[in-house]
Structure formats: structure tokens, C-alpha cells
């Protein structure tokens, strides 16, 4: 099932949540909507689900206009940020709900419901929890039950709102790998919202970077990381240094350089930037250096391998010479 978002705009009062959004998602893709909070990414997901009506624009599933299809008939699986499990129902009944509320003619019989619910619980590896209630489960377990419940109606697309947002770091890492494997297994067109760039880069086939209700860039994780289309994407995904021209009047034409794309040398070099080392932190296999430029005082962050750092033999307060290996200049930034 492909999803097309065409010229979608959505306002809440005076707040412009979505502003002319266009997006095409291929069948079987796993796409991340990545952006800071308030960027409109959740609104976009809810518009696709039919939980919000766009003010203008259209949503197409498999080239079929579903803009005015009611959420009940849209056949989407939606996993809420806080899971929204039915608190007074057992886990079994939670997963069975979507089947039980079907019109009588389409409703599977009790044995079939039982078979399907247990199969789904097995899929999310929690079949032993069928008789428990949501409040007896851990966050990670609730998340997987929410997913099983969403899949019970055999949705055409799966939408997940900050699926790992409320979990602790370790569970989050396990779950996102698990989600990736699950997606490869069932191959359902999936869209998930996240503000965590690492999560988006690790899990998704393609990343959609959203900011201020607009899409800044759509691309594979490599594309958005290595070739950011806008200064926002550069700053939002990964660390970045902005090199201002000390002689320029405005901030325009600043160069963007990743911390690991800067070389440090002790030898004076006319084309290099002079800076003073202020601070060095060893983090696992690499070292993060904080330096101050001697010409305008701007802070520069550099990442070196441990080996290279030891080889340099620099101490705090020492003057070194910085040479960016890759940089990118956005000419129209000031506009």
C-alpha cells in the first residue's frame, strides 16, 4: 500500500501545524518522520490516520483518495505514544477488540478470534501475558501489545507515534531493532514519528525531516546525514560546527562542518584556522575536543580517534590549526 500526501495544510487556531506538505511513501517502506517537538510530525501522522482532517490537500492510499474516509474505515494500524491500551480489558481482549467490534457479517467466530489473537501475541513474543491487565505490564511489553492490537485488524499501513519515546534507553534500543526485524518480516508500509535522530537513522529506510510544518528533506539515512539539504537538517541530524567568516558583516555563507571532518595539526598553516584547545573529553573509542577560534572566539567541536589524539600530544591551552575536510556552504541562509 502506497501513501501519498498532497499539499496538506493544517492549522490549530493561529498555529500552522502543517504547511503545504507533499510526501510519497512506497509500498513496504519503513519511513521515519523526524523533527523537533512542535514541528508538525505527529499532526502529519494523525492526518494520514484520519484522526485529524486536513484543512486543504489530500491523502491517497494506493492512488485512491481517502481524505474523507472516516478513521474507522481507513484500515490503518495506529500505535499511540502512550499506548492507549484499554485499561479495564485483559491483554487478550485488547488485541481482540478490533475484531469484536466488526459488523456481524465480517466478524470472525470466537475460535477464529482466539486463534488470531494468540498468533499475534506470539508474534510480539508475549503470548504468556494474555490474561494480564495493562497496568501489570512494563512499558516495553505495553508497547508490543499496542502493536499487536494495531495489527489485529490487518491494517493496510502501520502508523506509530513516538513508539519508543516513553521507554528507557536500553529497552528502546532492543525494541527498535525488534521493530526493524518485524517490519522486514511482515513487510507492511509503516510510518513512525520520532524526535530522536539516532532512532530514525538506525531503523528507517527513508527519513523525512520536518520543521515548522514543512518538510526540509526526504532521503535515505545516508543522504540526510551526508548531504543535508538545509542548514536546519545539518544542525538537527548529528553534530555540526558553523564556521563564520570573521570579516563578513552577516551570518550568511557560514560553512557547516561535522566534528569528525576536521583535521588538527600542530604545524602552522596559512590556510588553516588557528584555535586554542579548551577541553578534551575521552568518550569510548574517540575523543571530543572543544576549541576556541583565535580570530573570533567561536567554539569549535572536533572528534578524533583515540589513536590520533594520543599521537597529537596536545594539552589544554595549546594553539592548534584546524583544517576542515568537508564543508558545506548554504548561500541563501540569510534569506
Amino acid at each position: 500500500m502506497s501513501i501519498q500526501v498532497v499539499d496538506v495544510t493544517k492549522r490549530f487556531g493561529t498555529f500552522e501545524a502543517l504547511n503545504g506538505v507533499n510526501l510519497e511513501i512506497q509500498p513496504g517502506e519503513l519511513v521515519a518522520l523526524l523533527g523537533p517537538s512542535g514541528s508538525g510530525k505527529t499532526t502529519l501522522l494523525r492526518v494520514i490516520a484520519g484522526l485529524e482532517q486536513p484543512d486543504t490537500g489530500r491523502i491517497l492510499f494506493n492512488d485512491e483518495d481517502t481524505t474523507h474516509t472516516r478513521v474507522q474505515e481507513r484500515e490503518v494500524g495506529f500505535v499511540f505514544q502512550h499506548y492507549a491500551l484499554f485499561r479495564h480489558m485483559s491483554i487478550f481482549e485488547n488485541v481482540a477488540f478490533g475484531l469484536r467490534v466488526r459488523p456481524r457479517a465480517q466478524r470472525p467466530n470466537e475460535a477464529e478470534i482466539r486463534r488470531r489473537v494468540l498468533a499475534l501475541l506470539k508474534l510480539v513474543q508475549l503470548d504468556w501475558l494474555a490474561d494480564r491487565y495493562p497496568h501489570q505490564l512494563s512499558g516495553g511489553q505495553r508497547q508490543r501489545i499496542a502493536l499487536a492490537r494495531a495489527l489485529a485488524i490487518e491494517p493496510k499501513v502501520l502508523l506509530l507515534d513516538e513508539p519508543f519515546g516513553a521507554l528507557d534507553a536500553k529497552v528502546r534500543k532492543e525494541l527498535r531493532r525488534w521493530l526493524r526485524r518485524l517490519h522486514d518480516e511482515i513487510n507492511l508500509t509503516s510510518v513512525f514519528v520520532t524526535h530522536d535522530q539516532e532512532e530514525a537513522l538506525e531503523v528507517a529506510d527513508r527519513v523525512v525531516v520536518v520543521n515548522h510544518g514543512r518538510i526540509e528533506q526526504i532521503g535515505t539515512p545516508e543522504e540526510v546525514y551526508d548531504h543535508p539539504a538545509t542548514p536546519f537538517v545539518y544542525q538537527f541530524i548529528g553534530h555540526v560546527n558553523r564556521f563564520r567568516d570573521p570579516h563578513a558583516a552577516s551570518d550568511a555563507n557560514a560553512a557547516y562542518v561535522r566534528p569528525h571532518d576536521i583535521d588538527i595539526s600542530e604545524q602552522p598553516d596559512a590556510s588553516a584556522i588557528q584555535a586554542t584547545l579548551q577541553h578534551a573529553v575521552k568518550i569510548g573509542a574517540f575523543v571530543r575536543l572543544e576549541l576556541a577560534r583565535n580570530d573570533n572566539g567561536d567554539l569549535v567541536e572536533v572528534e578524533l580517534s583515540r589513536e590520533r589524539f594520543d599521537h597529537l600530544n596536545v594539552a589544554n591551552g595549546k594553539v592548534v590549526y584546524l583544517k576542515p575536510r568537508h564543508s558545506k556552504v548554504f548561500i541563501e541562509e540569510a534569506a
Partner: protein, 287 residues
């Protein structure tokens, strides 16, 4: 407490000095609270039962079984049986609309629901006299068609509905708002219709809140005096509710009978308190 500590141990600046516990302060506060409760709650309650049984248990039973008292009890139940279910349906509908949907005039609706709480019960009764009374707007038309509202059972039921109007809604609105809309949205995405969502998701989540609201609503419906007094006309055996009957007996210096009937209302209050406590415990247990 510090006597045995060596003085050289530095006390962190942020920690306030621990004061020796003064035991009589909490004890005195508890005593004041208990004395207050005893004076204003237990003594009157005990007095009701004491006065009611003053002339013996036989007299007590006679006072309750007397036809006028019996009809007052019947009318009280009639008013409650009509008012409580109506306000239950209205309260659930209003709370559902307010907590789960956004619409124009929502704050106006909330204000209107609170109106019976903010208006004196006497005014509440008077409103119906002004509308349905013989000199009122609809009075002459009703009289022509031989329909009696004021000084008759319909007036009493209307007044009871009005004063008990906010109980269920007021109980449910904060509860439903706190539960949010996510479960309802989840149900909708899974294909549930509005009714299915209400029946299988929303109502089970607030069932104890509903029961709680119904209990309070019922207690007020049976105990209401002011509004009902204005519209009743105090016709013995016809338009007297239990609280009105108590007043009449008292005014006739028939104290023992008055207190006997009053003890029924007091019992109702005790039963209400018992159920209320039980519901609260269950509610706590489930969340």
C-alpha cells in the same frame, strides 16, 4: 537528639536543623477536630435517633406506618426514581461531550450545569411556580387543559430534577478529562463506532465514578427540602415528601413522630456514606 553526636561533624547547610518532636501538637489538633465533629455531626445524629425512640419502639413504628408518612415516603421514592435516571443519562451525555469533544459553547454548557449549585433551592422552586403556576406563563393554558404541575407531583419531580441536575455530570467531567481521548481514538482506529466506543471503552472506565455520582444524586433527590417546599403546597398524603412531612409534624409539636421520620433520612445518609466509602475503595483498588 544531638547530645551524643560529636560536634565536629559538619551539618550540610541545606539540611534544616531537626527540632525535637512536640507530641502534644498533633494530639491537640486531632482532639480539636474530633470535638468539632462530635459537636456538629455525632451529637445531632444521635439526637435524631434518641428523640425518635423516646416514646418507645412501638410509637416509632406507628409514626412511620401512619398513612400520611407512608405516602410521603412513596412520593420521595417516586421523585428520586424519576429524577436520578434522567440525570444519569443527561450527566453521562454532557460529561462525554465536554470531556471528549471540542465544540462551540462548551464553557457555557459547563456553566449551565453548575447553575443549580449556585442558585438557592428556594429560587429553583420559585422558577417553576413562575412558569407553571396559575399566574405564571404557562399556568392558564395548563389549567385549561386540566394539567396540574404546581402543588402536584409533576412540580415536585421537576424541582427535584433541577436541584440534582449537576451531580453525575460534575462527578464524571474531571474523571473523563483526566483519562484523555487516546483510548477513544484507539477504539476508532480499530473500527469501533461511536456507540461501541462509548459502551465498551468510555463507560467501563468511569463505572465507579458513575455509581458515585448516582449515589450523591439520589441522596440529594430524597433529601431536598427548599425547592420542593415551594412547589409542593404541603397537601398531606398527596404532595408531601419525607423532608416536608418532617417539617409539618415538627410544626405541630409532634416531635417524636417528626424525629421518627427524620431518622429515616438520617439512615439514608448513613447508607449513602457506606456505599460511597465502598465505591471509593473499589475505585482505588482498580487504579
Amino acid at each position: 537528639m544531638s547530645a551524643v553526636l560529636p560536634l565536629s561533624i559538619p551539618v550540610p547547610a541545606a539540611t534544616p536543623a531537626v527540632r525535637p518532636r512536640v507530641r502534644w501538637v498533633p494530639a491537640a489538633l486531632i482532639a480539636v477536630a474530633l470535638a468539632y465533629l462530635a459537636l456538629f455531626l455525632f451529637v445531632p445524629l444521635a439526637a435524631v435517633f434518641f428523640e425518635a425512640l423516646k416514646k418507645g419502639f412501638g410509637f416509632y413504628l406507628d409514626a412511620i406506618r401512619e398513612p400520611d408518612a407512608w405516602s410521603a415516603i412513596g412520593l420521595t421514592f417516586t421523585a428520586a426514581i424519576i429524577a436520578v435516571p434522567l440525570n444519569l443519562v443527561f450527566g453521562v451525555a454532557a460529561a462525554w461531550a465536554i470531556a471528549k469533544f471540542d465544540f462551540r459553547g462548551k464553557s457555557l454548557l459547563i456553566t449551565l450545569i453548575d447553575l443549580p449549585f449556585s442558585v438557592s433551592p428556594v429560587i429553583s422552586g420559585l422558577i417553576y411556580v413562575l412558569i407553571f403556576g396559575l399566574q405564571g406563563w404557562l399556568g392558564p393554558w395548563l389549567a385549561e387543559h386540566d394539567v396540574r404541575v404546581i402543588f402536584a407531583v409533576p412540580g415536585i419531580v421537576l424541582a427535584t430534577i433541577f436541584v440534582t441536575f449537576p451531580f453525575v455530570a460534575r462527578e464524571l467531567i474531571p474523571l473523563m478529562q483526566a483519562q484523555g481521548r487516546e483510548e477513544e481514538e484507539a477504539a476508532a482506529v480499530l473500527g469501533a463506532s461511536g456507540w461501541q466506543t462509548l459502551w465498551y471503552v468510555t463507560l467501563p472506565n468511569v463505572k465507579w465514578g458513575i455509581l458515585y455520582g448516582v449515589i450523591l444524586c439520589n441522596a440529594r433527590a430524597m433529601g431536598e427540602f427548599g425547592a420542593v417546599s415551594v412547589v409542593s403546597g404541603h397537601i398531606r398524603g398527596l404532595t408531601n415528601t419525607l423532608p416536608l412531612h418532617v417539617e409539618i409534624l415538627y410544626n405541630e409539636y409532634n416531635f417524636a413522630a417528626a424525629f421518627a421520620c427524620a431518622s429515616l433520612l438520617a439512615l439514608l445518609a448513613l447508607v449513602t456514606l457506606g456505599i460511597k466509602t465502598f465505591v471509593e475503595l473499589r475505585q482505588e483498588h482498580e487504579t
